[in-house]
Amino acid sequence: MNTSKGRTAFCFPGQLQDKPMLEEAPLLREDPHFKELLKRASNQTKFNLLNFSFEREEKEEDFSLKLQISTYLLSMVHFYRLRAAGWTPDIFAEHSMGIYAALAASEVISFEEGLFITEAIGRLLKREGTIHRGAMANIIGLPLEEVQKICQALNGFHLSIANYNGSMHFVLSGEEEGVEKALSLALSRKAISATRLAFNTALHSPSLYSLREEIMEILKNIKMQPLKVPILNHWTIKPLRREEIKDFLSQEIGRPVYWVRCVEKLLQEGFIQFIEVGHEITLTKLMRWIDREAEAFSAGDHLPL
């Protein structure tokens, strides 16, 4: 059964911002895809999604790392649920660390390889966060020029725009002290909301560009298979080519996410359905701002169990 009514984009969200409330989702916990993937993930990483903890966790493991693994797992669970329900994607779009699940769903890498990459890069970011403490902040209600002015005003804290999520919605990344100052400045300049995100690294900022060789090392034994479903590269706004995937992965944590540009391209190409392959409704809400008429929903929120 194909329940799609037109060209459909599956959208893989970036890192969750909070522990997933799985105790409130008893039906999902009984889902066969959920059970199967959790078991495989637990065997490989010793991370138990239901407990939101690693096996024999002596001291509290990094919250961001747990969120990153949880995000990957839940995206893969919802991808298989969508497929089982008859949804067929024409293209994948991905936001930030959603790329790992998008690659696994496109069968470029296996589920286990995607999990390995997620955890390995997550641990690299954790280490980076202890050496160079960074932060990220969500700024809502200011136009691009104002956000750029804030970055310029705080020159010296290596602030940059990490996500272009909407015409009035940006994420800033940089040194922790600079991000804190940016929050105050944004509120004083009449932002509707300015809040810290659950990161202790300056993700998607040039300061992480230096990690690309270590990421290439993580990827060196992984063979990238042909893409079963194209993935839109949000830098070039063209489908990601198989031969550029490793470079993309090694650079993407040091470069911004151009989400608006990505969605606008898909709208121009005639995509009418946008399905968030994740547990929350983050990208679905961003879609509402970019194009109110587009049909968008999240598998985690909307797909019957």
Binding site: N138, I140, G141, M168, H169, L187, K190, A191, I192, S193, A194, T195, T282, K285, L286, R288, W289, R292
Partner: protein
């Protein structure tokens, strides 16, 4: 100017449903005094931006900053009260 009556309350609830595309909800399902954010209707800051724009378009009311927004978006009733006091001032 509309009074703080059932009609205005209903209009605010419809605005929330339309702006946030809560198509599975009806105005009756939104409690007038329940918190809109967090534990209540579960809205977040992205939703707040939609509501700011909605209030401006529908009632000509401006939310000037986050501090005012926090007070206005406590509940449907506080939104209605703000509209009543500021309607047409945009």
């Amino acid at each position: 100017m509309v009074g703080l009556n059932d009609h205005l309350i209903e209009k605010i609830k419809q605005l929330i449903i339309q702006r946030l595309k809560l198509m599975d909800m009806t105005p009756e399902m939104i409690e007038t005094d329940a918190p809109l954010f967090g534990e209540g209707l579960g809205l977040d800051s992205i939703d707040a931006l939609e509501l700011v724009l909605g209030l401006e378009k529908e009632f000509g009311v401006i939310i000037p900053d986050a501090e005012v927004g926090k007070k206005v978006f406590q509940s449907v009733r506080t939104m209605a009260q703000y509209v009543l006091e500021h309607e047409g001032t945009a």
